[in-house]
Symmetry: C2
Subunit: 480 residues, 2 copies
Amino acid sequence: MSNKQQNILIIGAGLCGSLLALRLGQRGYNVNVYEMRPDLRRTDISAGRSINLAFSDRGNKAMKLVGIEDQVKDLCIPMNGRMLHDKEGNTFLSNYSGRDYEYINSISRQELNSLLLDEAEKHENVKIHFNKKCKSVNFEKTTALFQDYQTKAEFIEDSDCIIATDGAGSALRKSYFLEKKFLFSFSQQWLSHGYKELSILPNADGSYKTYKNALHIWPRGDFMVIALPNLDGSFTVTLFLSYDEGEYNFNNLTTPEIVTEFFKKEFPDALELMPNLIKDFFENPTAPLGTVKCSPWHYKGNTLLMGDSAHAIVPFYGQGMNASFEDVVEFDAILDKHEGHWETVFSEYDKVRKKDTDAIADLAIDNFHEMKDHVGQAIFQEKRKIEMALEKAFPEDYSSKYSLVTFNEDIGYREAMLRGRAQDKAILNMLADGEVSTEFILSGDEGLDMTYKEVLKDILDKVKTETEAILEDDKIAGLH
Amino acid sequence: MSNKQQNILIIGAGLCGSLLALRLGQRGYNVNVYEMRPDLRRTDISAGRSINLAFSDRGNKAMKLVGIEDQVKDLCIPMNGRMLHDKEGNTFLSNYSGRDYEYINSISRQELNSLLLDEAEKHENVKIHFNKKCKSVNFEKTTALFQDYQTKAEFIEDSDCIIATDGAGSALRKSYFLEKKFLFSFSQQWLSHGYKELSILPNADGSYKTYKNALHIWPRGDFMVIALPNLDGSFTVTLFLSYDEGEYNFNNLTTPEIVTEFFKKEFPDALELMPNLIKDFFENPTAPLGTVKCSPWHYKGNTLLMGDSAHAIVPFYGQGMNASFEDVVEFDAILDKHEGHWETVFSEYDKVRKKDTDAIADLAIDNFHEMKDHVGQAIFQEKRKIEMALEKAFPEDYSSKYSLVTFNEDIGYREAMLRGRAQDKAILNMLADGEVSTEFILSGDEGLDMTYKEVLKDILDKVKTETEAILEDDKIAGLH
């Protein structure tokens, strides 16, 4: 096909950009990728900013597409559930799903990104240029202005089309916004909380200091600490805390003494695992948590935003990378239909994809509030108990909102959000009204006899009926 | 009080800025207002941009506060309802409320603004400077940079605090956004539709060419024309139309022939009243419709955004000016509590007010979609019929969403939105389920005997019960 000779310029060789380069390389395009940072395969990436990530089914769908599922599996540490830590140091494991085969994974950003870059560079039609920062994009001429990090020389690159996968601070998005040549809707929303990365180092023999196969959470109402395992026996720890509210906040945690006091009071068992706390705390930056949405993503058939540049989200659903990988899968499917017609491809991608990335952005913020406000409430714990029992007893017939979002890659985020929220509302209201209860629900396998299953089947039917009624009521009211 | 000697700089002498200047003048502050445009009392304001506005109870509350309610009343033309025009030229009057004393008013922007400027300037501690454009604000130093329109000379003004009422394109908001000195959440959302102002001129004898006391609407599904009366016998007409979608749109209405064809086909009765259509259409600009939200509005006790600069909304609820006037009322009430402590005043105002202006922004967009999509649907017309009957029969016990938003100035927009949406959902679903019907509902006074009232009372009780249930279900589910 003649259009396979076309030149595509990708801005940014992060997770989304390098996957896109690989896929477009596989499709035969001439691909040039410009990345502002040095090659992360040859240098340490800057510490303190999301060293590891949650990798799940939507991300894996993209790995299957480019044929590297097995290689990625070797980098994964399965996390079957949340390990909750209370103030007394008691722990409680809460599975992500009632189905044993559904779990998420901890994966190293650097290792996954390196694999994708290696695979992309195997294609001689893909070239990756490091230390070249994009300063602006002329979306009418389809050219981009770059600056070389070392020489400071500026140069312009021309291309048949430009796809910007340059993250939350995207140069292309900035050009769309500042040039005012078309009506560009844009929003950036900051949470009141920031985050800071810390670490739990391995034991001297390289073993893990706490349970390996879980995402650890120390929930404390208005703030929390989480920890994800790394392959080297360490955990990457993240503190989420308000900048300026509450007794302890980032603005007043200014001395080693007060930081130690805070952790001793709130996270004593974590503090014991972190003799390196003070060093990490004062060396690593405090970063804000923001959501970016915008529209349109494309300008004619010239330029397109993809990944975080189009939809940066907060990390509370563990879906940021997975959403960006799914972008590439969706884009690839539209290329199958309209290859050769960039304006049609970009415009259809924009149309079908945006509703889903808007949904995961909203879900991620919901989860921030849920983890802050709801996690300690009995009614939410009862809901979770019912959902786990339903998923275990009727694996084909029920998926919680979390499962719909995380393990059901064949339905879009928006559908998962609407159905998941309606289910949550149905169960919470039936619990409040005494229409269902957790009295007969067991947590293990012991109770899977017929009577127990009948009790659960009755609950399942009620939940399904009520969920449908909620969705129908909203539809009649013209909501959604 | 010593703090009454304080200097307050207001940027922008539009409706909100001149009202604020008047109120702060009444309170004894030294007020300097800088406005980029010439004095609109001595020059024609530019045609084609919202010449008249809908004035209602929230706006009037502010007029009462500053003691000019009677003078404003003289500028008002009551509009008791919507006069709907179909394609065949048939008209149908739909009242805004079942209570005769609830109506909105058409008012001239220029006359109202002039009155506010005159009243403000009666205070010798208030000075208004025209033709001075604000270019940026140094919110850390509480200074603003201006440029004189005639001499082009730039100068800096210092003040104890600065309040920016400089509209949707606010210089202060731009400084907040671009300087990146704190986490500033910001969104601008454009509708797919733009608008263009047209006019229906008076008859030769100065009389109105169509019914005076209504807001005229020609709803056509994906686009519409509206008309509001002016005191001189003319109507200001606005066409709302997509930029690029549908058979006719702003991008393809490029010749007199096609514009005439469009109006002949879609608005034949309006076309007859507008021999001046072509001149208006090609002389007046096409303007976009946007919503702006941001947070925080204030920086310490130094600077504050108020009115459209903080919350620009689309015009479909007729609440833009009313919301900005209500800003001043809310601000004044907080000044009563915390006068002398600007940081407390600004921060509390931000906290209590933002939820309400967010709500009216969302309601205004809802109404755009409602007018486009719902207005022609039988079930929405039945709902309206029920609500009018309830308001008429039980004036103390029921208010529709429209009434809650427009005529109930003692409850906030957010409460009006939540209750109003729940009521709509309740009625629409009861209609869909056959639990209530419009069969026995009359439109006039004829049926107000006991049996009829009993039927209505039964409907009222059902609506109230169902509304409470909807609000409670949402609360349990952690929504809102």
